[in-house]
Symmetry: C2
Subunit: 594 residues, 2 copies
């Protein structure tokens, strides 16, 4: 037996007991005649004491050879500490060691195993097994495990059945790129890894499972931007015989339960905002409503006063930054303007108005606007003396996006995005289709299985091109603190409507039949109305912990090149494997630098 | 709103209420002036009543158009049934329908949606969404969901953390064949889908996670024999600082809990049997101990009496089939002998001895053995009058395997394998290595990470070739009713020993480093002693329900060609996809028939 207790559980009550512990040497303090060693495991830290006086010579010598991260097993007696440590639960006691066994020695770790490590990202990922020994990362994984369990308990309590859907499915090029898997038994053919279990969960509704969920890995072969992973986890859910209202209520219930049961947070009822409102008021379909600075449109007040930039703009829109008029020098404004002009954001310029304490206004466009004009703006924006107005103009969609970035930046700068202030929000009434000017085709705003609103069904079946741009869907996103946590929709459950949607999305009849014939076929054998939602589980973990990166909640994440640097994957495979799969490499020589 | 209640919950107490239900039309009985319709959902069946007298003409006409599997929504009043049905929980009531809406019509299903269906396997799989509407299949999936939840609850209660390990990993050709995934971002390189999370769970132990589990999909690209799936599910577990004894106790606890909490079965303490004993007594490392007929070795009594077949055999061994002497005519014995001689089993012959009621013996080898000889056999085998002795001879391993088949066949024939009689068993002390005469190399009996028993470590490091054949491992299998439900081992946690094992298994140093360098590296930074187990989750589901096929517990299984016939996967992919992946097909023309 390696232990009678773990390193986190001994207390005053155990004083006098003989115990056996195993764990890692966190650190030792050698005072010459006495030595203290912190023994660590997942559960905590227990202090060991070796003394020249009480320990045998041999034991004391052996203790001195222990290095950081050695794995040891000790036996000893629990004694009361003379100087207690009230920072750790075991701080009242220590172990007077009578026997010590080194279970495994350890080389010096390439970085320190501590809450704040000196290891860079690359090093930490290469030695992930050492990085995972650090308490914050370990706590993240424990949190994740707990969150998954609470999710399952709650949904099971609501009569949801967890059904495992297959990972080896069929490639459907619509949407993101699939990872594919060559089939040895069916040469020339490929499986695809699921981007989501979407069609399977719909099939389960047709199959009468009524309420389905799954916490499941999904796969997308996309170019990895920051904080995206080729494999990620969803809480995937579907219900039959439901309205949008019932879905929102069910998953608002789940979300509240998860916040309460894992971090003790009471969430308020979730407000709902239409997609149009969100875009108009925040320039984003995932507004962070922890702080204000809502958009105010100024076309009516700012146009036709001779300022050609505004006059020629489709939209003039601004935010009011409270109390910052005096804090922003011309130099600061210039810096902010340059930040907005970076290609990532692409604003042409930034107009500012300072609402001075004396009731006057100072603006970068004083030339064109009177004090009265500026007062009009300030009034409309609800500004008070001391506030700073920041105004953009241009094409509506672009300008809103830019102002959204500016608003978030100001929120960050002013410390308005507090980590443990949770502001959930349902964004509803998304458009069904999005017209892509470049591709000259429609894309599904949510996905090709999303239903138009009931009142839009006839217009969708019979309407003209322009009508299609204005169809609304029963689609919804759950947004918390500016992160999209979940999204879903009521689905089409009628073959004719689904065919129409595929056609609008540019599928030929053959393509639709080839890729989704089974689903449309299923719709003919008694498909119930149904809908669902999927939560980004990695993102949910990070948002609940007020952290930005999902990577810290994934045990073995991949880097931006999609590589696992610990195991060094992907890698070349044996020629024999390729031969069995009846494929061959066709890798382009990359001439020179890349 | 589609429903106020589901189709399984209305009772006498609800009489008089107006309710709305939605579901599928199971069947209708039209009596001309009255019509009854069974409305079905996951929760049950509720009887609807339409009558010429009470319903409007329009409603009554509409009801008559309803076909099987139509999806409808009705509103009506709960009334007491005149003729009650005590076979269903809703049998006291029916619904007098006042409003009917057809939510979706249905084509006539290609097979009947009933407990016993007329659909063949192929048809059921193609229309899996209809097959899954059948109560027994639905119950299987509900059972599976429940079993997974109970597993998680129990293990979480034991401080296990569920950690998701990656699906896109590295190909390691040892063991079964990997499914591979070409990496677009790393041209010419491939990920592999995990055959199990083995190395990752060991890494998690090195990382100090202490107790890990995961219910996880695993993948093996093997030729699919009956009841094997290319993707299957494991309950995968690992613990640090544990002995084999602690692992067995922990997972015996889990198994008992699962049987109790899901099917109400109390399992006895699990007996333990060494691998050697299992092979000697049952000719199998997964003996079905629901019934006796243990092997008796007869070399000492049956050899050197002039019967050359026995004399030249390495092993003479038999079973005693109780009470079957008179039931087996010469013709029956001949049939049984032929069954044993089929190539799948390959016995050369089958010797029988009938223990007659009068105390005499009748045998197929009377010529060589006296009555006294045969009595000696019978005594050693514990036979009584009326018993039938069946005896095989030949090379030890082969003969044991053959007699195992015979024993199981007799158990089946005599009805001794009762579905709800659960007889668990730990088989322990497996050999570490298995010598393959054809390949002229060792294979790992469990897997390359399994530790030899402590007392065998030095022999493994220093011993000669013959010594390697006799090493025992801390490896164990959980067997229930002749099915291997789980298997595991204590792992190697020392670099030197792991290197030695790879060398014995025929790895070059480079291959070992290339494939498992990260693991051996991890062992140098303070790896704790650890071990674990994995349960075949699909198999556990079927065994607990006394069923033979795992397919019925998988929502969307693949057929023997690895195909999902519902979605028609795998399939060809677009040339554009191949180009992006920088691979090309190299499919052999198959000349003529295949």
């Amino acid at each position: 037996m390696y232990r009678t207790h773990n390193c986190g559980e001994l207390r005053k009550e155990n004083i006098g007991q003989e115990v056996t512990l195993s764990g890692w040497v966190q650190k030792s303090r050698d005072k010459g005649f006495m030595m203290w060693t912190d023994l660590r495991d997942r559960y905590g830290i227990t202090q060991l004491i070796f003394s020249e006086e009480k320990s045998s010579q041999e034991l004391f010598e052996k203790a001195r050879t222990l290095g950081r991260e050695f794995v040891i097993k000790i036996t000893g007696t629990v004694i009361e500490r003379t100087s207690k440590n009230d920072k750790i639960p075991t701080g009242d006691i220590e172990i007077e060691v009578s026997a010590l066994e080194v279970l495994n020695a350890a080389k010096l770790p390439p970085f320190t195993i501590d809450d704040d490590t000196d290891g860079g990202d690359d090093l930490r990922m290469k030695y992930r097994y050492l990085d995972l020994r650090r308490r914050p990362v370990q706590n993240n994984l424990i949190f994740r495990s707990n969150l998954a369990l609470e999710t399952r308990k709650y949904l099971a309590g609501e009569n949801f059945i967890e059904v495992e859907t297959p990972f080896l499915i069929k490639s459907t090029p619509e949407g993101a790129r699939d990872f594919v898997v060559p089939s040895r038994m069916n040469p020339g053919q490929f499986y695809a890894l699921p981007q989501s279990p979407q069609t399977f969960k719909q099939i389960l509704m047709v199959a009468g499972m009524d309420k389905y969920f799954q916490i499941v890995k999904c796969f997308r072969d996309e170019d990895l931007r920051a904080d995206r992973q080729p494999e990620f986890t969803q809480i995937d859910c579907e219900m039959a015989f439901v309205t949008q209202e019932e879905i929102l209520n069910t998953f608002e219930g789940l979300t509240k339960y998860l916040f309460k049961s894992t971090i003790g947070a009471d969430l308020p009822d979730f407000p709902r905002m239409t997609y149009d409102d969100a875009m108009r008021r925040y320039g984003s379909d995932k507004p962070d409503v922890r702080f204000g600075m809502e958009f105010t449109e100024l076309n009516d007040l700012a146009q036709n006063k001779g300022f050609v930039v505004f006059d020629s703009a489709e939209l003039v829109v601004g935010i009011c930054v409270p109390g910052q008029a005096e804090n922003y020098s011309n130099k600061d404004i210039k810096k902010l303007t340059e930040w907005m002009q970076r290609p990532q954001i692409g604003a042409k310029g930034l107009v500012n108005v300072k609402c001075n304490a004396d009731g006057t206004f100072k603006s970068s466009v004083d030339k064109f606007y009177s004090q009265e004009d500026l007062k009009g703006w300030a009034d409309k924006m609800g500004a008070e003396a001391g506030d700073l107005l920041l105004i953009l103009s241009g094409e509506t969609d672009k300008t809103r996006k830019q102002l959204n970035e500016l608003r978030l930046e100001m929120g960050r700068k002013l410390g308005l995005m507090k980590a443990n202030d949770f502001k959930p929000l349902w964004v509803v009434d998304f458009p069904l289709l999005e017209w892509d000017e470049d591709a000259q085709r429609f894309f599904a705003m949510h996905h090709p299985f999303t239903s138009p609103k009931k009142e839009d069904v006839q217009r969708m079946l019979n309407g003209d091109h322009e009508t299609m741009k204005n169809l609304r869907a029963d689609a919804y996103d759950l947004v918390i603190n500016g992160s999209e946590i979940g999204g879903g929709s009521i689905r089409i459950h009628d073959r004719v409507l689904q065919e129409r949607n595929f056609k609008l999305l540019g599928f030929t009849d053959e393509e639709a039949e080839d890729q989704f014939g089974f689903l449309m076929g299923a719709f003919e054998y008694g498909a119930p109305p149904h809908g669902g939602i999927a939560f980004g589980f990695d993102r949910l973990c990070s948002v609940m912990n007020g952290q930005n990166s999902i990577r810290d909640f994934i045990a073995f994440p991949k880097n931006n090149q999609g590589r696992d640097v610990m195991i060094d994957a992907p890698s070349a495979i044996a020629g024999e494997q390729l031969k069995e799969l009846q494929i061959q490499l066709n890798v382009q020589e990359s001439g020179g630098e890349k």
